[in-house]
């Protein structure tokens, strides 16, 4: 294959050396020095081409000058680079926003080559030529790195947004009206349709080659002016830390008290006193304790930290076991976060008697979505301390509860306790699992373990909330019950990666029990099947099988 011929053609239609190299070379070509790379690829640089190149004054007809050496020089004059230089970071990235006409021109050249050099195009796999944006980075990354003294990294949260435009962009994009598939019933809509970059790319990816070459000039014309820089803006993306927290206090809320809320809490639920069992003054919250730790260990401004968790527990409810998944968003980027700092953070926060954090780690915007989106679908495991308010033997009640088979469906009207801030409605909720246990030495209380659908109001499920939750556990066992204490011991959200958290022992035993239960069901159904079979054959064998469960 004669590459020289293609090269000659490319230069004659006004391609810059990097655009030529995009087609002649490949991803691994050295784009920093395109002339040298081209010399290596081509056996002979045609003499008249070398002359042409020297004379060449025009702006590249495909990249509109983006890949020409004059471009970075102009770009680096922009003041945003100074801000990047001064920012405390090791890395940065560039987001390039190019006008849509470049994509049209690129496609036009692509098609032109396909028509003119079909063999070459097959050999080179023309649809996989390095993209202009990619080549831009390959070409100038080193130059930019040296200029700002930092390393280019796609994952960096420190970014320069470079927006480029071209004088003829609007005019050239007009052609899209012909390529777009027009719905004639919506003519009016099309008359005013704006062809932004995304729409253009979308149309270009769908349009067939014939239609394209009918409306777009092949090869692209040499432009009268190069593209220009519309803006360069400096932006830092927030960073995210993920982890889990446990709360051991029954008087600490997740988020700081709002004005006036303390008065409310005095009467709140199962709390007899606000002062705390050791007379500690509770004005803090889980969030404040964690934010203080972050400030102390990482030096972040407290105002720049935003906390989110997968749900929340009432202030009088503990959260134990592996804890509740949460993340913090921090509007400040520091260089790097060594692993030890996260362990240090855990250590610092865990000094608090009320809160611990585990599994602290760096995460990202995408990953934290999991915390919020699944919030309503996550099962929760609770331990409750229940009170029998009628003179009935507790063993009998425990027994009755443990005889409940399968899951329970309950309907909960918005509880009185939250009716002031929630819409009023009735929601069906599933209690997947329930087990009661007597507490040796106590005849009025028992311990309850429950696995519930997210959003279940557990306290109300126990006592019935004036009949607004029906059936309640009280209804199910026909005994008035109340709830003395409640702990969350598991939240069914496998995020973030476990590092040092450990599940509550009861959670493990439920899992085992559920597995056993399922196996039993399976065995049972197998047995009933075989029983009916056997029944027809031999009654004596049947007896033997029925005895087995004993």
């Amino acid at each position: 294959m004669n590459f020289e011929e293609v090269y000659t053609s490319l230069t004659s239609i006004g391609c810059c050396s990097r655009c030529c190299l995009r087609f002649i070379g490949d991803q691994s070509s050295n784009f920093e020095d395109p002339s040298h790379s081209l010399e290596e690829l081509l056996s002979v640089i045609p003499e008249e081409e070398t002359k042409n190149k020297k004379l060449r004054q025009n702006t590249c007809s495909v990249c509109l000058g983006l890949l020409e050496d004059s471009f970075p020089d102009e770009l680096l004059l922009h003041s945003s680079w100074k801000r990047l230089q001064d920012y405390e970071t090791d890395t940065y990235r560039i987001n390039l926003n190019t006008p849509a006409c470049i994509a049209i021109r690129d496609k036009a050249l692509n098609l032109y080559l396909k028509q003119k050099f079909p063999e070459f195009c097959k050999l080179k796999n023309i649809d996989e030529v390095p993209e202009i944006h990619h080549v831009f980075k390959l070409s100038f990354k080193r130059k930019f790195d040296e200029h700002c003294g930092k390393k280019y990294n796609v994952h960096s949260g420190v970014q320069l947004w470079i927006t480029l435009n071209h004088d003829d962009n609007d005019k050239e994009v007009e052609v899209m009206r012909n390529l777009d598939i027009i719905d004639h019933r919506r003519q009016h809509f099309f008359k005013n349709k704006v062809y932004g970059k995304n729409i253009v790319n979308d149309i270009l990816s769908k349009v067939d080659d014939k239609r394209f070459s009918r409306f777009v000039k092949l090869p692209p014309e040499i432009p009268s002016t190069p593209l220009y820089i519309e803006s360069v803006t400096f932006e830092t993306l927030p960073i995210y830390f993920g982890g889990r927290y446990c709360k051991y206090s029954r008087i600490l809320s997740q988020s700081p008290w709002k004005f006036g809320a303390i008065e409310n809490s005095k009467n709140d639920e199962m709390n007899e006193e606000l002062e705390g069992e050791n007379g500690r003054n509770i004005t803090s919250s889980v969030v404040e304790i964690i934010v203080d730790g972050l400030h102390q260990v990482f030096g972040f401004d407290k105002e720049k930290i935003k906390f989110s968790a997968s749900g929340r527990e009432d202030s009088d409810v503990r959260c134990l076991g592996s804890g509740r998944p949460f993340f913090v968003r921090i509007e400040s980027v520091k260089k790097t976060f060594p692993e030890e700092l996260f362990r240090k953070l855990e250590e610092v926060i865990n000094v608090s008697p009320d809160v611990s954090v585990f599994d602290m780690q760096l995460t990202d915007k995408n990953s934290v979505k999991e915390v919020k989106c699944g919030e309503e679908f996550k099962k929760k495991t609770y331990v409750a301390l229940c009170l029998v308010t009628e003179p009935k033997p507790v063993e009998e009640i425990v027994d009755r509860i443990n005889k409940i088979n399968g899951s329970i469906v309950t309907e909960q009207k918005t509880p009185v306790r939250v009716a002031h801030r929630r819409a009023l409605m009735a929601r069906k909720r599933l209690i997947h699992y329930i087990r009661a246990a007597v507490i040796p030495g106590h005849d009025r209380i028992f311990q309850l373990t429950l696995l519930t659908q997210a959003g279940t109001y557990v306290k109300e499920f126990i006592h019935g909330d004036f009949g607004r939750t029906y059936p309640s556990l009280s209804d199910l066992v026909s005994v008035e019950l109340d709830i003395l204490r409640l702990d969350v011991i598991d939240i069914d959200l496998d995020w973030p990666t476990h590092i040092n958290s450990s599940p509550h022992p009861l959670v493990l035993s439920i899992k085992n029990e559920k597995i056993v239960e399922e196996n039993e069901k399976q065995v049972e159904s197998e047995l009933t099947h075989s029983c009916s079979d056997i029944h027809n054959l031999s009654p004596s064998m049947n007896e033997g099988i029925e005895d087995e469960p004993l």
Binding site: H420, I445, Q447
Partner: protein
């Protein structure tokens, strides 16, 4: 793990647990504060409403102990929720801010209670606010508003409207002690 330096008590490990249990208020009293309205009573016709206000200010309205129906051991025959132009049963409440809820004044009638002896007693709100909900338990079995007048026998759930301070809205309402005094003076 540094976890070891924290003692996490079991859920039932509570100091003075017996005392706590005996002092533990039932859920229908925890966080509730009861006030009484007697101003609609006339002669020997006692129309007392008990307003049980939760710490979030949401109120549950009950027949109060001194109501004629209770004092005279009457049996409820029917409840009529058509009050003037309004049908309380048609009350619908939208969203967190309780749009379109029927508004109640102090002397608004929630329903008329008819007893088997043919008497009709208006049941008044006693507090200004929005009608949030009627109790389906009571709608299904009227007698429950008498037998469960502390627990699940509330008639209506109301969100009071406060102009300034809660004192204003509670003006004219009696606390338990004052209400007891009124009751003993009725004999």
């Amino acid at each position: 793990m540094d976890e070891t330096n924290k003692h996490i008590p079991e859920i039932h490990e509570i100091d003075n647990i017996e005392k706590k249990i005996s002092n533990f208020l039932p859920y229908y009293e925890r966080g509730f504060h009861k006030v009484y309205s007697v101003e609609f009573s006339k002669d020997n016709f006692y129309l007392d409403t008990c307003i049980s206000m939760y710490s979030n200010k949401i109120c549950l309205l009950f027949l109060a102990d001194g109501h004629s129906i209770i004092k005279e051991n009457k049996t409820i025959k029917s409840l009529d929720f058509k009050v003037g132009k309004e049908d309380r049963l048609a009350n619908s409440v939208g969203g967190k801010c309780k749009r379109s809820a029927q508004s109640l004044h102090k002397n608004s009638v929630i329903c008329f209670i008819e007893t088997t002896d043919g008497m009709k007693y208006p049941f008044c709100a006693g507090i200004k606010g929005k009608l949030l909900d009627l109790n389906p338990v009571v709608l299904e079995d009227y007698s429950k508003m008498v037998t469960f007048r502390n627990t699940k026998g509330y008639v209506a759930m109301v969100q009071p409207i406060f102009q300034n301070k809660r004192e204003i809205i509670l003006k004219g309402l009696l606390n338990r002690q004052d209400y007891e005094n009124v009751l003993s003076s009725r004999k």
